[in-house]
Amino acid sequence: MKVERAVPRSIPPRERLDFSEVLLGFTYSEALFESRRCLYCYDAPCIQGCPIGVNVPEFIARIRSGNILGAAKIIYAANPLGSICGRVCPTETLCERACTTKLLNVPIAIGQLQRFACDLALSQGKVFFQYPQPIHGPIAVVGGGPAGLSCAHFLRLRGFDVTLFEQEETLGGLLLRGIPRYRLPEEKAQEEVNLISSGLKQEKGVKDREQAEKILREYQAVFLSCGAQISAKLGITGEEEVISANELLKQVASSSPFSSFNGKDVAVIGAGATAMDAARTSLRLGAEKVSIIYRRSREEMPAFPSEYESALEEGVEFYWLLSPVELRKINGKLELKLERMRLGAHDESGRRSPVGTGRFLKMEFDLVIGAIASFPDEEFLKMWPGLELDRSGYPISNNRQSTNPQIFLGGDLLRAGTVVRAAADGKFAAQRIADWLRQGGKR
């Protein structure tokens, strides 16, 4: 049985010259067409596949009946970032991977349907939640990215008095200062961020241990969601010439795009989500050629399939099994010495590890971007009493509660990696905080 899946219109790869959104989303008739393919499974596996538990078959049934606002209501009940997640979720690894219809042919385009329903509701100014007058708390949320915003949202829905501490001028975190605009337009991110931060008490970021201790005294619980924005070093000679992918994305998102990439030959080291974003962003900044260099092979690449496909179709070149050893500046060019790798035994991440072969090669670039890994700000975390970190510098967590029982955790601090997991952390931590306080809040 062959059933066609509705594919949203997109800007063709050759025409993606600026930061305009690539996927244009479903039209009404496309959404209806796609919704009709859903089998409306009982106890549907896609719900389990969604980290934040959106009731997928219910919202699709509502689209099918022409009740689009009802669909949006279902989505927003589970996820206050419905439109955003509809755009940036790696659905092929989540709900759509679990989709029963996949066993027939291709999964339902769940993410695109979610985006369609939420965008329509937003365009009509329909808001499905209302915060009651706070009667519990106060609770402090530190970090205004998707995890913190989601936690604040669900705490406020439960009647908690919430104050959000954010060091940046605006809320949103990576939604507005990390994810490139061509995947998530600023106004789309802003819409939902504004909705859930309306009426939310805000303070500037936490500066020192003294302030952290004061917060712990004044607030019943703290939700820490300050992200993992410290780029890992490549650990090679010439490191100072390497541009941090996180810094690049932040700068491009928040200020006028810089022109220094025009005609440049750019290397991106690493093959995760940030590397794909950095590579595609470089192309849009005018780079002549962008190469992704990764020490393992395609199989072990942490980027999601859809991100890899997009980078590939936009012309990013991939070099596998190469590990940087040294970076030298010669006549204005950067000469990158690389060691050829082979795949060895499986490491603790379950992937085959790269092993040096002792054979080397050199490649020349104008710019080298490092995108191998990010870590939490250890200095910042150390300001919080009783917060123990693991070997990699991440706080130790027991179901989103840290070693200081008053401090709860979420987002990239818990290696969320995606907006939806971060939002789910916020949601489930809100539940955890409420439960913990009801049980007496033992410290």
Binding site: M1, L32, F33, R36, L39, Y40, C41, Y42, D43, A44, P45, R64, S65, G66, T100, T101, L103, L104
Partner: protein, 398 residues
């Protein structure tokens, strides 16, 4: 050997069983010519009347009933008989008979007075028509004037009117088109037989209200804010038509042209199995065009070949002996649902339908695979109907 698709109907040889019903598709000689060229066996020219019966149409005329709000499964119309009167239809028949001598050109007529009916017959026979169909069945617009289904809902009027027509027809066989909008169609069919008419065409459209506009509260189709009950056609009425065709075939010995919701060759086969000798189509070609005749012919040919039939006539009525009444169904026959777990996609629609609409006889295992609890399964066969992949069958148990 390629099976013979031709059928004998009232002594007329149809090259195949597929006929265009009296409808907008046959309201123009050029359209009919295109259809006949495409492969249709014949056409019933859209119902005509005498010049003294004015036909004033209203627009819009159509409305749709959609499954899932999407696929058109029913269509309603508030169209009437042709605006073209007998004088134009005569010309069409002459032209079509001359151009397509091997095809069957039929005319549909409607009148109120005896003289009108008979004049229509004289003129059409003179024009060379092969068969005359009489509409005793139009459910809207005409009954108010004592025509259409007013006749077909009354055995006496049916017999009397059919007799007028039969009296007048010297050469062409007379076929009476019946309405499904009756409590019992058998006395009507019997009345046709008693009149001496040669054949029955069943069914015309089912009286229906296809929908109400939930914004304007007006019935659909809406003419300046108002609407009427219309004639429902298309796949949605096929079960009603199959019932009535088989019922006539079991009660009255008369050739039947089956019509009502036939969309493809499978539907056509079903109609022939319950006793239709030819089949008429209207909504399907209106929806998808005359081109559907290719698959209608092809599918029927391969079906007959696969079953080793030499001629399509061999299948006529084969299902009739198997239609019985409730008290004759075996009480000893026991079945249980059986799930082919290799085909199961674990949507668990069988589970929820059995739980809330059956006998709670399906349980779910840890891996979402459904399990039939045979002691609870009564064999109702709800679950195979809802299974989207056909993984459930009913197996006989002793």
């Amino acid at each position: 050997m390629t099976p013979d698709l031709s059928v004998n109907f009232c002594g007329i040889k149809f090259p195949n069983p597929y006929v265009l019903a009296a409808a907008p598709t046959t309201d123009d000689a050029e359209m009919v010519a295109r259809a006949l060229e495409a492969g249709w066996a014949g056409a019933v020219i859209k119902t005509t009347s005498v010049e003294s019966e004015p036909v004033e149409l209203v627009y819009p005329q159509m409305g749709a009933f959609r499954a899932d709000g999407h696929r058109l499964v029913g269509m309603v119309n508030i169209d009437l008989i042709s605006k073209r009167h007998i004088d134009q239809v005569e010309k069409d028949i002459r032209y079509l008979k001359r151009s397509f001598p091997q095809k069957v050109i039929m005319a549909s007529i409607m009148g109120s007075r005896k003289e009108d009916w008979q004049e229509l017959v004289f003129r059409l026979e003179a024009a060379g028509v092969d068969l005359i169909e009489c509409s005793f069945s139009c459910p809207h617009g005409m009954p108010e004037r004592g025509m259409g289904s007013t006749i077909g809902q009354n055995p006496e009027l049916t017999e009397r009117t059919a007799r007028w027509v039969k009296e007048a027809a010297k050469r062409a066989p007379v076929m009476i088109k019946l309405t499904p909008n009756v409590t019992d169609i058998v006395p009507i069919a019997q009345a046709v037989k008693n009149s001496g008419a040669d054949a029955i065409c069943a069914i015309n459209t089912v009286l229906g209200l296809i929908g109400v506009d939930i914004d304007t509260f007006a019935p659909i189709p809406t003419v300046e804010g108002k609407g009427i009950y219309g004639g429902l056609s298309g796949p949605a009425i096929k079960p009603i038509a199959l019932h009535l065709v088989s019922k006539i075939a079991r009660s009255v010995d008369i050739p039947i042209s089956g019509v009502g919701g036939i969309s493809n060759w499978r539907d056509a086969v079903e109609f022939m199995l319950v006793g239709a000798r030819t089949v008429q189509l209207c909504t399907a070609p209106m929806h998808f065009g005359f081109r559907i005749i290719d698959d209608l012919l092809d599918g029927l040919t391969f079906y007959l070949e696969g079953k080793n039939f030499q001629s399509v006539e061999e299948i006529i009525g084969l299902a009739l002996p198997k239609i019985t009444s409730y008290e004759h169904l075996s009480r000893a026959h026991k079945v249980k649902a059986q799930i082919d777990l290799d085909s199961c996609i674990r949507c668990d629609l069988c589970y929820i339908s059995c739980r809330d609409g059956g006998h709670q006889a399906i349980s779910l295992k840890e891996d979402r695979l459904p399990l039939i609890e045979e002691d609870k399964c009564v064999g109702c066969a709800l679950c195979p109907q809802v299974c989207p992949v056909g993984a459930i069958s009913m197996k006989k148990v002793s």
